[in-house]
């Protein structure tokens, strides 16, 4: 069967770079909490978390190297959850 999926081996180095980026963003988000950005505090924290999760998905979870169809599925699932949250807030925002 199709064994060609596993021919790609990710270098150790790549993982170390990703980890450094992830740690960096973690410390930035902790540091930003100390500064009062008003309503943008949550936005910054969530934005950094999203970038971090994209990195984890793409490199650690191999989405970048896998068939495209996995990436599409993951994106759709996140989109679905986002839509559900938005529609739920149709109620709470305007109540």
């Amino acid at each position: 069967m199709e064994k060609d999926q596993h021919t790609h081996i990710v270098k150790y180095r790549t993982y170390v770079y990703v980890l450094i980026a992830l740690l960096f963003m973690t410390f930035v988000s902790v540091a930003v909490t100390g500064i009062d950005l008003g309503p943008y505090t949550v936005t910054t924290a969530l934005l950094l978390a999203s970038i971090k999760s994209v990195l984890v998905l793409l490199i650690f979870m191999h989405l970048k190297f896998d068939k495209k169809f996995y990436g599409i599925m993951v994106a759709s699932v996140f989109l679905l959850l986002a839509c559900v949250i938005v529609i739920t807030f149709m109620d709470y925002l305007y109540r």
């Binding site: 699932v77 679905l80 839509c83 559900v84 529609i87 739920t88 149709m90 109620d91 925002l93 109540r95």
Partner: protein, 536 residues
């Protein structure tokens, strides 16, 4: 293929001797066909119990005041009827029985992708059923919340909620396991040459269904878990006294439970899409439109949950949004109806029992669907919310939709599953009585609802007496029809005439294998070149 393998596969799946004997050869079998039958038998037992509970409720309603049971018994009866019918029968029903049995055969595979997981899902189902039903017998009396477990009553009531909620939670895993299995099976195991657009429509319907099972069930899982935590550990989620918002419970519950309605109806539509071209002896009209509308229903169906909560106190914006989306989701359903009717146009129809079931399905599904439009409109919903109208609509869609498709499917595939043909005239008589009883039972409830009879009450004012008598008599008639149908099927499994491989002259792959199929379905995996419904 070697000679040894050939001989090995010639034994039918019913007679195959594996590692275990007797009952164990079934309950430890990883064969998708045996698992399908395990589900069928378990559901037959549960369905009989739940149908009798329904009959008991209708008898209670034959006259105002207490007839055969008191209010608390009635409350626990409709709760148990709902939990059993929804979580144990219609949600798993068609995928678990006919999906398990026919999905691999229809796409030309020897089994599902994960046979052991498949067996595990049946075991989880049985364990979940026992936990849910144990609520009836242990603790402080049977649950009385209805199958929706609405907060805050579900953690205030003194009755035995925990097992019921835990059971529903456990059953979710069974549903998810089946969903994962089917999706992977369809992605990985289609026969050579069967591209997505050459896949029959029942597998397509199961594909949409499986995605909903996978993506919606976890939400209700965690919601039920929150109810459990709230009841056992006083963690505030939905209790206003602990700061929670009961309406959020309704949101979370219906985020699952509305898509669950499409878990019920999509495979039903798939079954009808198989039966109609076979007996019309014609290619299905608009194959692609049916595929697209299947996926559209699965997708849009995810965003309409709020129409169960129009009178709960949501914001105006939310009301409009949900109402519009509800109307949108009706479009693909209507497209399918048009496609089926167009398939029948100018066809030389072979009128047989499965086809009659499909015709009855079209009628009841349309009544159910159109009454759903009435409920999806905001202004009428306020009037009809929580009345008998909703009960009638729901039973027309779920019993009328999924139930009729289930019986249609069993009459359609019965010769393939058991290698015997049932008595066709008794089957038709049963259907006639059942269909008459069904309409006499539920049509008056539309009227009762419009004139204001609330649902879930064991008593009513005198004005409602007449239609209730009619409705209750209809219930008796319907149950007698059911008894004829089931007796005929059970009897024919032993005494029926042996069936040929393709009794209905169907064209999909399951009709190319023996009746009943051999253990591995195909001696050689077929190569597919044609469209599934190539009649011309």
């Amino acid at each position: 293929m070697s000679e040894a393998v050939n001989q090995h596969t010639e034994v039918s799946y019913l007679e195959y001797k594996g590692r275990f004997k007797g009952l164990f050869a079934w309950i430890f079998s990883t064969d998708h066909k045996r698992i399908g039958l395990l589900y069928l038998y378990s559901m037959l037992v549960l369905f009989s119990v739940a149908a009798l509970l329904g009959l008991a409720m209708k008898i209670e309603l034959i006259a105002p005041g207490k007839t055969i049971m008191d209010a608390q018994t009635y409350n626990s009866f409709f709760t148990l009827h709902g939990i059993t019918m929804i979580f144990l029968i219609v949600v798993p029903g068609l995928p678990a029985v006919f999906g398990n049995f026919f999905l691999p055969i229809m796409i030309g595979a020897k089994d599902v992708a994960f046979p052991k997981l498949n067996l595990l899902s049946w075991w989880i189902y049985i364990i979940g059923a026992f936990i849910a039903l144990s609520a009836q017998f242990i603790g402080d009396g049977p649950p009385d919340t209805g199958w929706t477990f609405y907060a805050p009553y579900s953690f205030r009531t003194g009755t035995n909620m925990l097992p019921a909620v835990t059971g529903a939670f456990v059953l979710g895993f069974s549903s998810i396991a089946t969903g994962i299995n089917f999706i992977v099976t369809m992605h990985r195991m289609r026969a050579p040459g069967m591209s997505w657009m050459k896949m029959p429509l029942f597998p397509w319907a199961l594909y949409g269904t499986s995605w909903i099972q996978v993506l919606a069930t976890p939400i209700v899982g965690v919601t039920l878990l929150m109810i459990v935590l709230e009841r056992t550990m006083q963690i505030g989620f939905f209790d206003p006294a602990l700061g929670g918002d009961p309406i959020l419970y309704q949101h979370l519950f219906w985020i699952y439970s509305h898509p669950a309605v499409y878990i019920m109806i999509l495979p039903a539509m798939g079954v009808i899409s198989e039966i109609i071209p076979t007996f019309a002896r014609k290619t299905i009209f608009g194959y692609k439109a049916i595929v697209v509308s299947t996926l559209a229903i699965a997708f849009v169906g995810y965003f309409v949950w709020g129409h169960h909560m129009f009178t709960s106190g949501m914001s105006g914006t939310a009301l409009y949004t949900f109402s519009i989306l509800t109307f949108f989701v009706a479009i693909p359903s209507a497209i399918k109806i048009f496609n089926w009717v167009a398939t029948l146009h100018k066809a030389s129809i072979d009128i047989q029992t499965p086809f009659l079931w499909a015709l009855c399905f079209l009628f009841v599904f349309m009544v159910g669907g159109l009454s759903g439009m009435v409920l999806g409109a905001l202004s009428t919903n306020v009037h009809l919310h929580d009345t008998a109208f909703v009960v009638a609509h729901f039973h027309f869609i779920v019993f009328g939709g999924t139930g009729y498709a289930f019986f249609g499917a069993i009459h359609y595939w019965y010769p393939k599953m058991f290698g015997k043909m049932y008595d066709k005239s008794w089957a038709n008589i049963g259907l006639a009585i059942f269909f008459t009883g069904f309409n006499i039972l539920y049509l008056p409830m539309f009227y009762l609802g419009m004139t204001g009879m609330p649902r879930r009450y064991y008593d009513y004012v005198d004005e409602f007496h007449g239609p209730n008598i009619v409705s209750s008599l209809g219930a008796l008639l319907m149950i007698s029809g059911l008894i004829i149908i089931i007796t005929n099927l059970v009897r024919s499994a032993k005494h029926g005439v042996p069936a040929e491989a393709d009794p209905w002259k169907g064209k999909t792959l399951e009709w190319t294998v023996a009746s009943p199929p051999s253990l591995e379905n195909f001696e050689e995996i077929p190569t597919v070149t044609k469209h599934p419904y190539g009649y011309e």
